[in-house]
């Protein structure tokens, strides 16, 4: 069953994020896709997120299709104006990619092309509206399309530093849902209790909210997130657990697996994020018994 059908049938969906290469060597991406095939419902392909120049998500999505994996590709307004965004969305559809995730885009100040000019011709909400417009056969200029696409558009709730920031994120997400977003990817879960109260808050959005399960690859990463994003919910206890472990990599996988199993009881899906350790995705699913 396709991602779209599972989503609308209220079935649990498992997504995994995979990055395109910085270059044309697609071996790793293809191997990771083959390894995960049949274990996830779709693979999410970011498009130069964190401002790192890579092969575009469009090609990543096409590669997934070639290897029998359904893709969801990121789309955002930092690098393209409304013309390019709509044109690439149509191109994606023609190539068989109909799942688009409109995401927040990191600024260029921390990127590997810091001198670049950011575009931001439109914002995330306007992009969701534009894609919904394409679904209805019209472009942003009001002109009719020759052949109407059928995108499943998603959006994100970004990381939030406090309750006030979450409230703003929820207002923004509500607007995107009203504009046509059919699912929402939410920030990484490190604390299931906190996640439960988060899920209660997002319930009125009335579309599936799919949390991220993030693979903690090292003690340093856990400490960094705990210090820089206290609201993320990495507890001292969790850090102690990783520190005491004789095999910290394995401990990270176990933690991700436990989180995934816990999230399964509370949400209609999950997105696994391993940031370069996509070869470990299967291990996380095994750890969760999925």
């Amino acid at each position: 069953m396709s991602f779209q059908k599972r989503l609308f049938a209220q079935e649990f969906v498992v997504l995994a994020e995979m990055h395109t290469p910085k270059g044309v060597n697609i071996t790793r991406l293809v191997n990771d896709a083959r390894r995960i095939k049949g274990r996830v419902d779709a693979v999410v392909i970011p498009d130069m997120d964190n401002g790192i120049m890579r092969m575009s998500a469009l090609a990543g999505g096409a590669l997934m299709l070639q290897h029998g994996v359904e893709p969801i590709i990121h789309l955002y307004a930092r690098d393209r104006n409304r013309m390019a965004l709509q044109g690439d969305a149509l191109a994606a559809h023609v190539m068989g990619i109909s799942n688009l995730l409109v995401t927040h885009s990191e600024g260029m100040d921390q990127s590997d092309h810091r001198e670049a000019k950011e575009v931001f011709d439109i914002d995330e909400l306007e992009l969701v509206q534009a894609l919904n417009g394409l679904n209805q056969g019209k472009d942003m200029g009001g002109f009719e399309l020759d052949g109407t696409p059928d995108f499943t558009v998603g959006c994100t709730i970004g990381s939030f530093g406090d309750e006030a920031a979450l409230d703003q994120e929820l207002i923004a997400a509500q607007a995107k849902v009203e504009a046509g977003a059919r699912f929402i990817i939410s920030p990484p879960v490190f604390d299931l209790e906190k996640f439960q109260s988060f899920m209660a808050k997002v319930k009125p959005l009335s579309v599936p909210v799919i949390p991220t399960v993030f693979l903690i690859k090292s003690l340093a990463i856990a400490q960094y997130i705990a210090a820089s994003e206290p609201e993320a919910g990495i507890s001292n206890e969790l850090i102690r657990r990783i520190r005491k472990s004789s095999d910290r990599e394995l401990e990270g996988i176990k933690i991700a697996g436990e989180t995934l199993a816990g999230v399964r009881e509370m949400a209609q899906g999950v997105m696994l994020q391993t940031l370069g350790w996509e070869h470990k995705l299967v291990d996380i699913l095994d750890a969760a018994g999925m």
Binding site: G107, M108, D109, R114, E115, A116, K117, E118
Partner: protein
């Protein structure tokens, strides 16, 4: 200077509709020079508002005042004796002035009465054109004193595009090709070797993009 044009009266009236007492503020700097928001324009707008209200059978109290510089906190303090007797402020300064007022008088609605347009200069009486986009890394020393960022529609850095013909830009008969102007000027100055130098992809960071830009002069900052 920063140029501006007055907003349509209907838009201004919509802003001030809920209020009974308005403080209408001009600025003696750029918007006076470009005849958009100086003392004279304050008077004209006040009359326009009053006449329109009269026609609609309503009324409003307008106090007119023009500051030396609305973007300067020192001059904004002048408003202290009059701000409390206004329900809202209508500013005819550029966006910098409007924001200065909104920052200073947090409990007072502040509305813009002009649209801030660009940094430019006067070509002739009543005509202003864009000259600078504040890119933060001035190239005029390499381009004969003509800016390809402000004056080239595509902001090209290494000569004209294919849309330039007979010195005119493809976007309109009345738009000079910036790179034609640069070439002619460098030729006249016997500096054509500057034209042949290839400029690298521009670093746009000094022009902004990572939030509002700021200048801190340690020798002046208190």
């Amino acid at each position: 200077m920063i140029t501006a044009e007055r907003k349509p009266l209907e838009e201004i009236l919509a802003y001030i509709k809920p209020f009974k007492r308005i403080l209408l503020l001009g600025c003696n700097e750029c918007v006076t020079v470009c005849a958009a928001g100086g003392r004279k324009e304050v008077g004209v707008l006040a009359s326009g508002i009053q006449m329109s209200m009269l026609k609609n059978g309503t009324s409003i109290e307008i106090r007119e005042h023009t500051l030396e510089r609305q973007c300067d906190p020192e001059y904004v303090e002048e408003l202290l004796p009059m701000i409390d007797s206004a329900d809202a402020v209508l500013s005819m300064a550029c966006g910098c002035g409007v924001q200065q007022l909104a920052t200073r008088f947090k409990d007072k609605p502040v509305f813009p009465a002009v649209n801030t347009k660009f940094m430019g200069g006067s070509d002739r009486h009543g005509v202003w054109t864009e000259r600078c986009q504040g890119c933060g890394d001035c190239l005029l020393g390499l381009t004969g004193g003509i800016c390809p960022i402000a004056k080239c529609a595509k902001q090209l850095m290494n000569g004209p595009c294919g849309g330039s013909a007979r010195g005119v830009c493809e976007i309109g008969e009345d738009v000079d090709c910036a790179w034609h102007l640069i070439w002619e000027r460098l030729k006249a100055l016997d500096l054509t070797e500057q034209y042949l130098e290839i400029m690298p992809a521009k670093d746009w960071r000094p022009g902004g993009g990572s939030g509002p830009r700021k200048i801190i002069r340690e020798d002046l900052a208190e």
